[in-house]
Each structure stands twice: as C-alpha cells, then as structure tokens.
C-alpha cells in the first residue's frame, strides 16, 4: 500500500506532470511564473485547494451522484463545489489565519478558473472510483488524496523550475518577433522533455511500473 501510494505520488509529480506533460493550468504557468515567490504562493494555494476540492468531490461522487444515477451532473456539481470552496477558504483564512491569507490570498480568486483543480477532481474519480469496489472506500479515498497532493506538488515543481528558466530568458536578446511570450513558450518546449524521461526513475526506485 505504502509503495503504491509513493509510486502514485511521484508519478504525478514527475511522469504525469500536470503542467508540462498534461497541459493543465497553462494560464497561471505562463502568467505568474515570472518570479519565484509568486510561483510559490500560487502553487501553495493550488495544492491547498486541490486537496480540499478532492476531499469534498470524491465522496460526493461515490455516495451521492453514483447511487442517484446522476453521473451526468458531475461537471456542473464539481465546478460549483470548487467555486464555493474557494470563496469559503478565502473568508476562513481572512478571519482566522491572517498570515496564511497574506501569503496565499491574492491567488485564491484565480483558482476557480484554473483548470488543474477541476481536472484533478474529475480524473481521480475516473482513476480511483473503481477502487472503491475492490479495495474499499478508505483506501480509494487515500489514494485519490495522495494523487491530488502529488499533482499539486508537480504543478509547484514546474512553476518553480520555470521561474528560474524565465529569469535567464528575460536577460537574453531573442529575434524581435520572439520577444516576450513566444520565446517563453519555446523555452517551455525545451523544459518539458525532461519530464518524459522520468518514467524509468519512478519505475526503478519503487520497483513497480506505471
């Protein structure tokens, strides 16, 4: 069990990296990765919301939507849950955890429309929903939460790596049409192949494969 959880965690970070391999959350990736501290703040907020959203939506799907045969309401229910949750977290942090609010607060409103949060809630239901029948709800729930946090950490890794890349790119002098966004995209193209090679590493460390 522990080995499988670790394998899920690291494969979400390295092999199935949400930003550079799966293309979820490209907007904040291009928009906020200019500086290291804003990258960290944004990804901290994303990890937090991803974890909370999965914690709510997974049981919702298993215990409410599936038994009531309302699977087709998944998209609409999940996005509403995320929107309400983000609002709620914002109010809660503002009131009770001021220091955390100061660190993450500005990024919270952006997260409702961040596709990685909706993506992770839908994907864990697809991937681990079936485990409820074979392994029991608790095990499937833990797997999906680990998967959510792993995806968030993968997002953070990509943001932080890329803020470093961007600092170097900004200091360069590319041809006129490439200035700004185009050269940023080309450097993302050079950063992303690294993640394609990680499959073997996770495989060998945990002696299991994907």
């Amino acid at each position: 069990m522990i080995v499988k959880l670790a394998a899920i965690f690291f494969s979400m970070i390295l092999v199935n990296n949400y930003v550079l391999v799966k293309f979820y959350g490209i907007c904040p990736f291009l928009g906020v990765s200019k500086k290291l501290d804003s990258s960290l703040g944004m990804s901290g907020a994303v990890i937090f919301v991803m974890f909370m959203a999965t914690a709510v939506t997974f049981p919702l799907q298993i215990f409410v939507l599936d038994p009531a045969d309302l699977g087709y309401l998944q998209t609409i229910v999940f996005i509403l849950v995320i929107a309400v949750l983000v609002q709620f977290i914002e109010i809660f942090l503002k009131k009770y955890m001021v220091s955390l609010y100061n660190a993450l607060g500005v990024y919270l409103p952006l997260i409702t429309t961040n596709c990685c949060v909706l993506a992770v809630t839908i994907l864990v239901v697809d991937d681990y929903g079936a485990d409820v029948a074979t392994l029991g709800f608790a095990a499937a729930y833990i797997e999906s939460l680990v998967c959510a946090v792993g995806s968030g950490v993968g997002f953070m890794l990509a943001m932080c790596l890329f803020s470093g890349v961007r600092t170097r790119v900004e200091a360069c002098d590319p041809p006129e049409p490439f200035k700004g966004l185009p050269i940023t995209l080309v450097s993302a193209a050079i950063t992303s192949p690294y993640f394609m090679g990680f499959g073997g590493i996770v495989e060998n460390i945990f002696n299991v494969t994907l």
């Binding site: 293309f23 490209i26 907007c27 904040p28 291009l30 990024y107 952006l110 995209l185 993640f195 394609m196």
Partner: protein, 223 residues
Amino acid sequence: MAQENSKVSILTNGIIKENPVLRLVLGTCSILAVTTAVSNALGMGVAFTFVLVCSNIIISLLRNVIPAKVHLPCYIVVIAGFVTIVQMVMQAYFQSLYTALGVFLPLIVVNCIILGRAEMFACKNSVVDSALDGVGMGIGYTLTATLMATLREVLGSGSWLGFQVLPESLPKVGIMTQAPGAFFCFGLLMAGCVWLEGKLDARVERKIGCQPLKDLQEGEDKE
C-alpha cells in the same frame, strides 16, 4: 448601412482583430492539448463554438435578471450545463472523438475565453450581437487550433486529417505530437503572428491569461 457594418465587424473581430488564442492568449491549455491531430482540433473547435454561442445567447438574455453579486456562479452554471450537453451528445454519436478529447471536454467550463466573453461582452450587449461575437470567437479559435494541428500532424505523423501527405520514406518528427512539440509550435505560431503584426504595423501588447490574472500581472509589473 452602418448597422450592417457593425454586425460584420463583431463577427470578424474574433477571427482577426481579437483572435482569442494568438492575440488575447486565452484558453491555452486546450489549444496545446488537443492539437495532436487535425480531427481532434476540429472536433474541439465545434464543441467549443457551440458552448460559446449558446452561453453567450443565454447570458445576454438573462443579463438584466442576474444580480451582480452572484453573476459568476450563474455564468458558470449556464456554461457547465452546455458543456455537459456537448459531452453527452458527443459520447452518444462521436465515441472516438469523445475518447480522444478526454478530460479536456469538461474542462471547456473553465476555459477563460468563454467566461471572459460572458463577462466582457454578453452581459453588456444584445442577444444577436452576443451570438455573432460567439460565432466569431469560435471560428477564430477553431482556425487557430486547426492551423496548429496541421503543423503538428504533418510533421509528427506525416498525415493530414488522417490522409498520408508526406511520403512514407520521410522520417517523422515524433516529438511534434508530444508535449514539447505543442509548446514549440505554439511559440512559433505566436512569433509568426507577431512578425506579421510588425509588417502590418498593428502590434498588440500580449497579456497572458484570464481576467483576474491580468490584474495581478499589472500589479506585479508596477512593483
């Protein structure tokens, strides 16, 4: 006559002047992900245009009813409703396309182009104008996606819309259909667009991402 002109300009606005992908830089996630093959790009474009036009019409109809306080959740519910309809219809009648687009179909909900158009255009304009705006933006999105998919599919698989166009003997650039190729093609296309703008003397400043993100960025730039 002036009336006619303004209708046409609303329609063409989304295709060239405010091309959502290359000039407004919105909805980048799906553009990068679905352009591995021309057929996927076209399917995504049609689904996207349908959702955009329908949600624009409904939101424009309801623009005087929806209270400002809950406008965002209301828009999201309307958009998510149409996205789910597209999902169900596509799963029933276009199974292979449904599998190919995967999770990016439900992710149309959080596509900033649709929410952005609802926020910026549909809630302030008449139903007809909003519908035209949706059609224009949809065509702009579809054309750009198809262009990029053409680049990636021809180089990566040697085919176009499934038909072999490059001779078999020519080596394929497999990486073009994978993640790095997506970023690279998008960068190239955008550079091409900037170059063209330079020639035509019509440069625009590119701000990345969704509306609230823009505010944040402006704040960052001021620092």
